[in-house]
């Protein structure tokens, strides 16, 4: 037959096409290692996505408006017996119940009704909380501490015998440890810890007997750096006093006669803290943040001393980059962390400016020892001043006078600022990242979450051979739309991109524009897909009548033709819907070493 001559005879082979499935992502975000030599378990970029407990890379939870105290910026919030206690910049305190109803707790009128008609708190940019003997103590380092009882009555923290708070220090932060309330951060004595009398909260050194309260100036025990106490932590039976560049590990409860003699005999050099609000103890871990990154103390196997550990080594450069933009005062006041008990996460938030904060960059550390999971992810698009965890494990965050509730696995929220902001009809927002407010319809409100995941370069086990990719496939769930880019041969960004021009298209006199956080990527291929739970043709909602996108859980194949020696994928998009990427598969032909 004549047609045979039209096709050049080729060597017969059996199934030359190979497939490579990538589905282990337990390494998380890693900026330390060069991604030309990085295992695919890690991700070079992991923004607003993280490795969930099911092993999939998933879009983080969003949040919805929970309450608005209305009149002043919230500087800190804490959960206390079924309500949120909110401290505002104007010195007022409020409570917010489970229905989001706001009740005034403390202002000048309430203060005036107290015995002795004390003055109320003045303006404050900081507040911290410490639970002590069933009460919640509120501190700001300027005014005398407040004491909230379980019945939500409030008074100044005072010696119960005399009713006087003359000896209660104007501390900035505290920690209940054993039978003692330990306070520190007195601006007049920055290196002194104030330890209450045993089994009391308001009896400090100087108050009438019975009183074994003691003040300890730790400046002589600080081996390195500034002697100002930055925070107080607790780890099992140890009290940990953190300074900028070191930690003192101590223990309370040792007496010489009737005199309490706290011991601070175990200094740990170069493990310190920048903010008391970033110190969290849970189980066998105490995590805290210093100028280098996030640190931990764990118990030594061979003795009773504590072993320091840098848990953020893989992302330290990015944490340092964010911390370096802030003054010491901003670090103390604005850097904070929350502990997500439901998913075993420590989330550190660092503002992007001292005063004009437009975003608090989040560093999320998931640490599940039983599952041997420890990985990082980056959280973007939020601007929180403070946050806390409820007894049920739900996370609350504040921005301005508003309180937002973060979604959880049991009560998922797939968009940000639901009930507060909404998008244009085409799902876009204003150029500053904010949406319309107030919203027309709460159920349809919220801003899309911008996510991005860039795994490292892959050589498919043959670094020197060219690879001809032929198809791509995914295992996904959720209904979000996502875009997949593929890069080849280390060609990731456009080197001719000189930065962002002014609005009139002009650049600076050196021919460069503004530095942009998102570079101009140069993908070899790019295609958008829909999560595996998307119904597709006829099943999707209005505007998506024809399916709207390419289903990514389809065992038929998608053509994916490219050639390169090393390959890299990038998943990104903006969504108000759930998405989990369980695995991705490349079908490829192995070619020669010549590119």
């Amino acid at each position: 037959m004549g047609m045979n001559r039209l096709v050049k005879p080729i060597r017969r082979h059996t199934n030359a096409i190979k497939t490579a499935t990538t589905r282990e992502f337990d390494g998380g975000w890693n900026v330390i290692d060069n991604d030309l030599n990085l295992d695919t378990r890690f991700a070079k970029t992991l923004k607003n996505m993280y490795r969930g407990q099911d092993g999939a890379i998933r879009v983080r939870q969003g949040n919805r408006l929970f309450a608005d105290v209305g009149e002043s910026t919230i500087v800190n919030v804490e959960y206390f017996i079924a309500v949120l206690v909110v401290a505002c910049e104007n010195g007022k305190l409020f409570t917010v119940n489970g229905l989001g109803e706001v009740t005034l707790l403390f202002d000048s009128a309430v203060a005036a009704s107290l015995p002795g008609r004390p003055a109320a708190w003045g303006t404050t940019v900081f507040a911290s909380f410490v639970a002590s003997k069933g009460h919640l103590i509120v501190l700001n380092g300027i005014d005398k501490p407040l004491d909230i009882s379980p019945s939500l009555s409030i008074s100044y923290l005072a010696d119960p015998a005399t009713g006087s708070n003359a000896f209660v220090p104007r501390a900035k932060y505290g920690r209940q440890h054993g039978d003692y309330l330990v306070l520190a951060g007195d601006p007049l004595a920055p290196s002194t810890v104030y330890i209450s009398s045993k089994n009391t909260s308001g009896v400090f050194f100087g108050a009438p007997a019975p009183n074994d309260g003691v003040n300890v100036d730790l400046s002589t025990k600080v081996p390195t750096g500034d002697t100002t106490i930055k925070g107080i932590g607790r780890y099992r039976d140890r009290l940990i006093i953190l300074f900028a560049e070191c930690a003192l590990v101590g223990s309370l409860g040792t007496y010489s006669g009737s005199t309490h003699v706290p011991e601070f005999s175990d200094p740990v050099d170069l493990y310190g803290a920048v903010s008391h609000r970033a110190i969290h103890t849970f189980g066998d871990d105490i995590l805290f943040t210093d100028h280098v990154g996030v640190q931990a103390f764990t118990k030594s196997i061979f003795n009773t001393s504590l072993k320091p550990e840098r848990v953020s080594e893989l992302v330290d450069p990015e944490i340092q980059k964010s911390l370096s933009q802030l003054t010491i005062e901003a670090l103390e006041d604005r850097v904070f962390a929350v502990h997500n008990r439901l998913e075993g996460q420590y989330i550190l938030f660092i503002p992007n400016d001292d005063d004009n904060v437009t975003e608090t960059r989040g560093f999320m550390f998931t640490n599940l020892r039983a599952l041997k999971i420890a990985h990082w992810a980056e959280i973007r698009g939020w601007n929180w001043r403070s946050g806390c965890r409820s007894q049920q494990g739900r996370l609350f965050f504040t921005n301005g006078s508003q309180i937002f509730l973060m979604g959880s696995e049991q009560d998922p929220i797939y968009a940000d600022f639901v009930g507060d902001q909404e998008t244009f009809d085409d799902e876009t927002v204003f150029t500053d990242g904010l949406g319309f407010t107030p919203v027309a319809d709460i159920t349809d409100s919220g801003l899309p979450i911008a996510f991005e995941w860039i795994p490292p370069w892959q050589d498919l086990d043959k670094r020197s051979n060219s690879k001809l990719t032929k198809f791509i496939g995914f295992d996904t769930s959720g209904t979000a739309t996502f875009t997949v880019d593929m890069f080849v041969d280390n060609l990731l960004t456009d080197p001719s991109d000189l930065g962002e021009a002014f609005t009139d298209d002009l650049v600076f006199s050196d021919d460069y524009g503004f530095e942009t956080e998102t570079p101009t990527y140069t993908p070899s291929l790019s295609m958008s897909f829909a999560g595996g739970d998307r119904l597709g043709f006829g099943g999707d909602g209005f505007g998506q009548d024809f399916g709207g996108n390419r289903p990514s859980r389809n065992e038929q194949i998608y053509s994916w033709p490219a050639k390169g020696k090393i390959l890299k994928l990038r998943f990104h998009g903006e969504t108000r819907q759930p998405l989990r990427i369980v695995s991705y598969t490349l079908g490829y032909l192995e070619a020669s070493i010549r590119r």
């Binding site: 004549g2 047609m3 082979h13 096409i17 291929l525 389809n554 053509s559 033709p561």
Partner: protein, 225 residues
């Protein structure tokens, strides 16, 4: 069901054959390539035979000086697509090729004697008649390639050839390039060849007139018994 299909339908058929996810706009990277393969397949089978439905008769009057006709050309660009050329009043004998070993300029007269192929890409005149001074009306049959428009995936005009032949060809070429499942590639190749043979064989269904001078109907004067 129509015999012919739109290019977009052919692309979907090929995608199904390849176990790709079908649908317009679904395969961002395979669709253009499949269109290219289908177009190539059409061009391959186009030249395989003088398909009646793709062929046309033309009659043109020679200009008497260039060996070509005056006025507009036709949508035929090479002599390979011309089946036969008849001189004025020729009924049974088409004009032959210009012999290789003859000096055409020495051919005298005005009666068309030979056909010589030319590049008709710009003129639409794929041959000329020797002697160049030949006059009269020539008649020729040629196969006419459809407009390029037909081969666009967005076209609303059908691709005028058997869809199975084209789909098997494109799928065979695609899967051969992928290097996956040699058995399937072999199967598609065999199906393409079998289908094309079937098409060609069916061309011969009508009775063949062995001597065109003995017409089947009484079109000429005959003596009745």
């Amino acid at each position: 069901m129509a015999e012919f299909k739109l290019m977009s339908d052919l692309v979907t058929d090929v995608q199904r054959e390849l176990s790709q996810v079908p649908g317009i706009g679904t395969q961002a990277y395979s669709e253009d390539y499949i269109v290219q393969l289908l177009t190539a397949g059409f061009k391959v089978v186009f030249r395989e035979e003088f398909w009646p439905h793709l062929s046309e008769w033309f009659q043109k009057t020679l200009d008497g000086s260039t060996g070509q006709w005056s006025g507009a050309g036709v949508d035929v660009y090479v002599l390979q697509d011309v089946r036969c050329v008849y001189g004025p009043k020729d009924r049974y004998r088409p004009l032959p090729h210009l012999p290789r070993h003859i000096n055409p300029y020495e051919i005298a007269g005005t009666t068309p004697r030979y056909v010589e192929g030319r590049n008709g890409a710009s003129t639409g005149k794929p041959f000329r008649i020797w002697p160049l001074a030949a006059t009269g009306t020539i008649t020729f049959q040629a196969r006419v390639m459809p407009d390029d428009e037909v081969f666009l995936s967005s076209s609303s005009d059908e691709v005028p050839f058997d869809d199975l032949t084209l789909v098997y060809y494109a799928a065979w070429q695609y899967i051969e390039n992928d290097g996956s499942n040699p058995g399937q590639a072999e199967k598609l190749k065999n199906m393409f060849e079998a289908r094309l043979a079937q098409e060609k064989k069916n061309l011969a269904n009508l009775p063949i007139d062995l001597d065109p001078r003995m017409a089947q109907s009484n079109s000429e004067w005959v003596e009745l018994p």
